[in-house]
Chain length 404, copies 2
Amino acid sequence: MKENLSLQEAQSILLSHCREMGTEEVELHASLGRVLSEELRAEENIPPFARSPYDGYAFRALDTATATEEQPVFLSVLEEVPAGYAPTAKVGPGEAVKVLTGAPIPEGADAVEKYEVTTLKGNQVAIYSSFEPGTNIIPAGEDVVKGEIIGSKGMEISPPLIGLMASLGITRVPVYQQPTIAIISTGDELLEIDEPLRPGKIRNSNSHTLAAYCRAMGAKPLILKTPKDRTEEVGEAIQQGLQQADMVITTGGVSVGDYDVVKDAVRYINGEILYWRLNFKPSSMVAAVKDGKVILGLSGNPAAALMVFQLLGMVYIKKLMGCTDYGLTELQVTLKNDFKKPSPAGRILRGRLIYEEGNTFMELTGVQANGILRSMIGCDVLAEIPPGSGPIAAGSKLKAYLIR
Amino acid sequence: MKENLSLQEAQSILLSHCREMGTEEVELHASLGRVLSEELRAEENIPPFARSPYDGYAFRALDTATATEEQPVFLSVLEEVPAGYAPTAKVGPGEAVKVLTGAPIPEGADAVEKYEVTTLKGNQVAIYSSFEPGTNIIPAGEDVVKGEIIGSKGMEISPPLIGLMASLGITRVPVYQQPTIAIISTGDELLEIDEPLRPGKIRNSNSHTLAAYCRAMGAKPLILKTPKDRTEEVGEAIQQGLQQADMVITTGGVSVGDYDVVKDAVRYINGEILYWRLNFKPSSMVAAVKDGKVILGLSGNPAAALMVFQLLGMVYIKKLMGCTDYGLTELQVTLKNDFKKPSPAGRILRGRLIYEEGNTFMELTGVQANGILRSMIGCDVLAEIPPGSGPIAAGSKLKAYLIR
């Protein structure tokens, strides 16, 4: 059993135990935030026909070769085509068709002049300059050419992709099923939210924080009942989670105390422990696998649990959801505040990203202790303090990860 | 009627026409992403009692004054307290209580020594160093002190705030009602998603893109049927939107053509036009107000519509949702690519933020034309090219806005 892993090693082992979810089809509007399970190719051009970007006149560029401000060319206007209607006439030599914004370009025409710079006398329009073919024409397939890939397998579905799918008439979207994440908080001190406090007890917050993150990511949280803090009962809860979900997350019971039971519980159900503890603070965690499903054991301390969830759990869940872009975004930040505690073992700091003059700063969101959930509010970046560090002064540069 | 506004002026006029939504109470889990309609104060300490961060022994610091590696102090162990249980004994002179991680500190004790560095003989524990009061004790209220504000009115509810509310036993959360946004795409060329293409027609994508953005933000989109492209019918559709929703967004019919009807439609229903057109590309838009509700008219070109929605509409909707933090995040980006077109009128570029060595770069997401929705996919930053600019070289610095 490996111990004290780097973040990269911990991620990489966890990610190697990832399965592919099944697929399903959902309505276009329900596909927002889901993950494409198939590549999508355009079966049509968008737009499907060449069209005019302006109100104006469409004609053959050739006919305007001699046109000047002083000596305009006069063309006979055959008809007017608004957007949404098909031209009925072909444009021949000396002819033009009035087109409104978005109207199809009539056959034969290959240039458009804006309405404002023409003059009309009877049915003759005067054009005052010469044109190259293609001028002021939006070609068919300007946005997407038939056959092009508009979405790749593993892409998260964003509003503009929904718009593109709508353009292509895609009403049902192939997506991965959403993984279910069983969440088990352990600890005999835990009460449910709606219970009154009693001596020695605190309310369970971890299950709710983690469930909200899962939901925000597009996974399905399943909060299980807190088991009694004994090997067998915790083991049975994990076993139940494995049966009902695609991954199990526990909190509490992963450090070194007499009552720290998650590792024993995993062994009790014949799970394989992959590794234990990270080589930085917060270090408490255990990763295990059973029946091809990952069990991620987090600290009982709210902030410690959450940070390890963000650095490891969210990355794993993204991959489990089918996302090809599951890794954390790395960046370099400049620390805004002093952080006075030394970090002999290395440490993760929580903060808020600030953009100033092209640089990225991190402002600490508050007290950094393991039990302090409050400073996770508004935290969108986690930075690494390397092992062996003393106090870190404002202005220092740190490697960091975006958390969103 | 004002014309050709700067983004700042356009935002500021729109935001001055914002109403406050009603409020409601929702279940804790349903509050994710919603906006607090009341300040939340902690009615208890979190944690509610002082506790031990380790497995160890709790005692009076005073008793260890003479303790050294060679001459330890021996204390009588009265009992063992696991997490979740209340101590039954008071700690007096010469006494100690075994405490496990998370257990309450017994009355009388004011310091804890870790289990690993003690030795136990019978019921006597040896302590090998002297302690200051408070050592290794997590005080009550470490995370949140009773009476503190944990969430302010207008704060968006994040997973860690859900965790804090759970800790405090808050099962129902006061939030603003979600605004309904009526979306009307105009244009006789528009087909519904499930209709086959016909000559001159394209499918409506704007309604679906905008609805998805509204949903992602936490507002309720209401897509109305596309009216015939005539003043009266568009006016009636807008009127219907005003009755059913808190804001109306239209697309199409806002430029200068014969068939551009949104402004006329607003006048037809006796709405007040606030302003028309922006002083940069994409410029087409109109802002109006009727019955205290805003009508935002966007271009029919998908990318143009979307960018103005992101720069103006999303900011307005965030404020309408009750968010106090509704403004766009401004940053400076360094352009990764050349952009060769000149921008006499100023222009918004779409791209993707890249973090490199502490700097923020913007990589263009593709062709920047008004009709190209494709380059909005993966776009998370919009940059401003100032008016009167020629081609912009890679490496240039631009003012930009985060879009999320």
